[in-house]
């Protein structure tokens, strides 16, 4: 089980959190094409490396935040605010 460093509460066990999956996805306007809307709904990255995802401290402060997790080692490189841009990290996005 991972330990996640909640920006508001500090490190807590993973079971207090819920994963909201990939972050930094732009919601299209109502006028979007069917293809753009389908991409928004369904198409997700599946990297071997750093993955940028959003989590909520559901069993704590109930705040959402972003983090970068390595899909092989489960290392968490950084935890950052929902409004922050995606950080640049070494170690591969592909």
């Amino acid at each position: 089980m991972m330990s996640i460093d909640c920006p508001f509460c500090g490190p807590r066990d993973e079971h207090e959190f819920k994963c909201g999956m990939q972050s930094h996805i732009q919601r299209p306007a109502l006028s979007a094409t069917d293809e753009a809307w389908a991409t928004y709904l369904h198409m997700r990255d599946n990297p071997k490396g750093w993955h940028f995802e959003r989590w909520v401290h559901a069993g704590g402060c109930r705040q959402w935040f972003n983090l970068a997790r390595h899909t092989v080692s489960h290392d968490i490189a950084t935890v950052y605010a929902m409004t922050d841009p995606r950080p640049e990290l070494e170690g591969g996005m592909a």
Binding site: S3, D13, L30, L41, R54, V56, R62, W64, H74
Partner: protein
């Protein structure tokens, strides 16, 4: 003497405290401080189990977690525990144990006839033999004969618990390396937790008498433990087995605390983990190396020093390294006859020293066969060359009753490997040692391959008896799962050359000991056969648990009523007093209906429905979700959430609305109330109360961060009672609220805040029954007294409490949607009559774009409609499929019945169904197909009772 193998002058057992116990039905006596294993050995019980597949007689082989042979079923009835290693069971007075996989006992096992069929059961025997017609034809017989202990049949009466720990440093193992590491870290003031699976700290110091820092082990241990005891930042947990190493330095351990809870599961998060888990001795592989009386050399040392028990009276040692010589000296010091030492190596310093001290040492020699039934009586040996091949003509025979073997040492690297770390093969040690750590973790002492002095280990290989004309068919590699060198050879011949394949095909290392004594020897055999170095063969993946863990420890307190705890209504006790039949509705214990003497369920429901339709009824509606939405942008926010246009909702008004997910699917419905310009209340179904809160917070925090809105769930702050029926207003009027309840002042879908004395009240005129209705909310703690008061005030009008089943009948009569029953994961708002609402709304809302996709615009979407049976006596069943009216043959389903009830009001069956293009087919006759029966039915408006809604507006 009752314990013929008990040795005087050695051991940590209490000779003044005898303990009586039974094993396989025979009464024995042991001592306080014994394990079941040491007590059996003291009593001369040689045969302690039967092997897994062939039912060969087996005896004690190890002295700890590595024991492969002696698995017992401890106790009986509700406290029975299967497959415990006798070496890990602390003896207590009155203990009762049986060997597993034997009948009637280990000594006289009738299934031992199977041992004669060994040659017929090679690797992959089951895969190859039980193919036709089907494995399941044979499974029961095989499971009965090749098996382990029996699971308990009764509920476990003991308590189990869990605890979460966070420490700076976790030290696993309280042997000399662990104690040193703990002292080093504790000195810097860090919080240190030490866990050890034994009842006493010390590890090898408890049986090895080698001087440490110039002191005897006893003195050294006592001094260090005294130092640790003075440190406030150090804790030592004994009888606590670390069994798993997970992400982010989480170690799980199970702690035995007899008398408090039976077992406690610890989740330990540590900044740094020190693995001081020691090493496990390896056996030697030679023919008939599984006979009772053959033990690991250091297991024998432990039995002697820790428990004062000798493994035999005439002992032979067989070794490929120097460590066994200290066992020989200890046995001699205790007065036990060490007949000979067989050493696979031609020379070594320890050999020479032993020879000088008068031991009979056969250098360059190995055991090549054993005799004795059921237990060992003779060892045959041959000289071997450097390749491990036995040499014809250079042999001997020794009469003995114990053979102690040492084939080198494997660092206990299980946790290290579980953590993701890699191992490398160390040539000097002929073993796998920790290589690269990937977590904050370090192995120390024997666990890191560091031993006192050199072990001078000979090459890892089986004793090759082919020059003698013998086969490897009885050279056991894995005693626990009955795998021989011959089995491994066959598997390699059949091209199972990858170690992970070999393991699964032969089952090597797959028993409850997870190959603690067998895995590395198997790798050695595989390497020899494939001409590869063991390091190139590699190891199989180590997986948790290191030692078996009971389900009780994993479940902890989540058993019985705490497995799925039900939430209770604020009026729970009053529901019971009113003879409610309580059921689980989405995690809430709620009244299904109220039973009066002599009534069937259907009669109770009909009585309650009639009472509401003609008089007045009351229901505790508190599980309904209630979410306050505050802030200047609250209206804008909710307009983006709901399908409905909420811009037109006025203060003091309610509106029924639908919520979708982003895929356009209906996920919840309920009443929205506007209390003032910037305060709304969202009502949800009881099952969705929490998910809707989660969804609102996610949209606010992740997408619309610019909106000034706060979401506040108040579902269990406010309790709600539903009072419904044409007489509901006159009952409510008697309460004395400061709210004008007249039809003119308080219309359908109005909401007011007011007071009942000094209790705040929220009142809404809404209806899920189709009748005039009120939902009155008060703080949770006032609900029970309000319920009692309404029962009293309603008595003149015949007010009855009613349950969820009656409510469901009424909402089906009315055609009111029940999300999750009348909708599924494909239902969009246009399917349930909300097409017009969407058309009249301009703004975007969650899921709107998905309703406009080709899927959302299909002409054959299933619409929610009503159904009535053509024959009014027929009953419509939920789940019945809709097929073409004319067909007599099998036909394509056009939809199905989602809700159905027998309507007491209409005197016939009423139903709702999702039917392709149903809204355009009102009046059409279709067929319902249910479990082979067919029934004609007519598609109708969903609302079959009072479709115009006149009854909402009773004056």
């Amino acid at each position: 003497m009752s314990q013929p193998f008990r040795v005087a002058g050695t051991g940590r057992v209490d000779r003044d405290r005898p303990l009586r116990f039974r094993f396989d039905g025979v009464q024995y006596t042991g001592l306080q401080g014994d394990t079941l294993a040491s007590a059996l050995l003291a009593n001369g019980v040689r045969v302690t189990g039967r092997s897994f597949k062939y039912h060969r007689a087996r005896g004690l082989f190890g002295a700890g977690c590595e024991e492969p042979n002696t698995l017992v079923q401890l106790e009986s009835g509700d406290r029975t525990e299967p497959n415990l290693k006798a070496t890990q069971v602390a003896l207590y007075d009155g203990l009762v144990a049986r060997s597993v996989n034997t009948w009637p006992s280990a000594r006289f096992d009738l299934l031992s006839v199977l041992r004669h069929f060994k040659a017929l059961m090679p690797s992959g025997f089951y895969y190859k033999t039980f193919i036709a017609p089907n494995w399941h034809w044979y499974e029961w017989l095989i499971r009965a004969s090749a098996g382990l202990g029996k699971s308990p049949r009764e509920a476990d009466p003991d308590r189990y618990d869990k605890r979460f720990e966070a420490v700076d440093v976790l030290v696993v193992g309280a042997g000399p390396a662990g104690i040193r590491a703990a002292l080093a870290h504790a000195g810097s003031g860090r919080e240190v937790l030490i866990v050890d699976d034994q009842p006493a700290a010390g590890g090898s110091l408890l049986y090895d008498d080698t001087l440490i820092d110039g002191a005897t082990p006893e003195r050294w241990l006592a001094a260090q433990l005294a130092r640790l005891a003075t440190m406030d930042n150090v804790r030592l947990l004994l009888r606590c087995t670390a069994f798993g190493y997970y992400d982010h330095n989480e170690i799980q351990a199970v702690q035995f605390e007899p008398g408090v809870v039976r077992q406690r599961l610890l989740h330990i998060r540590a900044h740094e983990v020190i693995l001081a888990t020691g090493a496990l001795e390896r056996p030697l592989v030679f023919p008939n190396n599984d006979r009772p009386g053959i033990l690991l050399a250091h297991a024998a040392l432990k039995y002697l020093r820790q428990y004062g028990v000798s493994p035999g009276r005439r002992v032979v040692l067989a070794t490929n390294n120097d460590s066994a010589y200290r066992v020989a000296r200890a046995l001699r010091a205790a007065g036990i006859d060490v007949v000979a030492i067989l050493d696979l190596r031609n020379t070594s310093a320890a050999q020479d020293a032993a020879a000088r001290d008068g031991f009979t040492v056969h250098a360059g020699a190995a055991p090549t066969d054993t005799r004795g039934a059921p237990a060992l009586s003779r060892v045959r040996w041959h000289r071997v060359n450097a390749a491990g091949q036995a040499q014809v003509g250079q042999d001997g025979d020794i009469t003995c009753d114990a053979l102690l073997v040492s084939g080198g040492w494997n660092p206990t690297a299980h946790l290290m490997s579980q953590s993701g770390g890699s191992l490398r093969f160390d040539d000097a040690l002929q073993a796998f040692v920790p290589h690269r750590a990937v977590q904050q973790q370090r192995s120390v002492g024997a666990a890191n391959g560091e031993f006192e002095g050199s072990l001078d280990v000979a090459r890892l290989q089986a004793v090759d008896v082919s020059p003698l004309g013998q086969t490897a068919a009885y050279s056991w590699v894995d005693l626990a799962s009955d795998v021989t060198e011959g089995d491994l050879r066959l598997a390699v011949q059949e091209n199972f050359s990858a170690v992970e394949h070999l393991k699964r095909y032969t089952t090597t290392g797959m028993m409850t000991d997870q190959g603690k004594t067998s895995n590395v020897n198997a790798i050695g055999v595989l390497g020899s056969l494939a001409g590869k170095a063991p390091g190139d063969v590699g190891t199989t993946k180590f997986r948790p648990p290191f030692n078996p863990v009971t389900f009780g420890a994993v479940a902890g307190r989540h058993v019985g009523p705490f497995y799925h705890p039900l939430r209770q209504l604020p009026t729970d006790h009053l529901q019971h007093l009113a003879d409610a039949v309580m059921e689980d509705y989405g995690g809430w214990s709620r009244a299904a209906y109220f039973r009066r003497p002599g009534e069937s369920e259907a009669e109770s429901v009909a009585r309650e429905v009639n009472a509401v339709r003609h008089g007045v009824g009351m229901l505790d509606y508190s599980p309904l979700g209630k979410i306050m939405v505050h802030g200047p942008d609250a209206g804008e926010f909710l307009n983006r959430i709901y399908v409905n246009n909420l811009k037109t909702l006025k203060t003091g008004k309610c509106r029924y609305g639908l919520m979708l997910n982003e895929h356009g699917i209906v996920i919840d419905d309920g009443i929205v109330t506007r209390w003032d310009d910037s305060t709304y209340q969202v009502g949800t179904t009881s099952g969705q109360a929490q998910p809707v809160v989660d969804m609102l917070e996610e949209w606010l925090q992740c997408e619309w961060v610019d909106l000034d809105v706060v979401v506040e769930p108040v579902g269990t702050q406010w309790s709600t009672l539903m009072v419904a029926g044409p007489k509901s207003r006159q009952v409510m009027a008697r309460l004395g609220l400061d709210i004008d309840l007249s039809a003119e002042a308080f219309a359908h879908m109005d909401a007011r805040q007011g007071w009942l004395g000094d209790v705040p009240v929220r009142l809404a005129r809404v209806s899920f029954t189709g009748e005039l209705g009120f939902e009155i909310s008060v703080p949770w703690s006032f609900a029970a007294s309000l319920w009692q008061r309404l029962i009293e005030l309603g008595e003149p009008d015949g007010l009855v409490p009613f349950g969820i089943e009656s409510l469901m009948v009424m909402r089906i009569e009315k055609g009111f949607l029940h999300v999750g029953s009348d909708t599924d994961g494909t239902t969009m708002p246009q399917d349930v009559g909300f097409g017009g609402v969407i058309a009249n709304k301009r703004a975007d809302f969650v899921g709107r774009r998905s309703t406009m996709t080709p899927e959302g615009l299909r002409g054959d979407r299933k619409h929610l409609v009503g159904l009535q049976a053509v024959d009014p006596r027929s009953r419509i069943a939920v789940g019945a499929h809709v097929i073409d009216a004319s067909t007599k043959a099998a036909a394509r389903s056009q939809g199905w019945v989602t809700s159905a009830a027998t309507s007491p009001t209409l005197g016939r069956s009423v139903a709702l169904a999702l039917i392709e293009n149903g809204a355009e087919r009102i009046g059409e006759i279709i067929q319902l197909f249910d479990d082979g029966r067919r029934m004609p039915a007519r598609i109708c408006n969903p609302s079959q009772f009072d479709p115009a809604g006149d009854r909402f507006h009773v004056h």
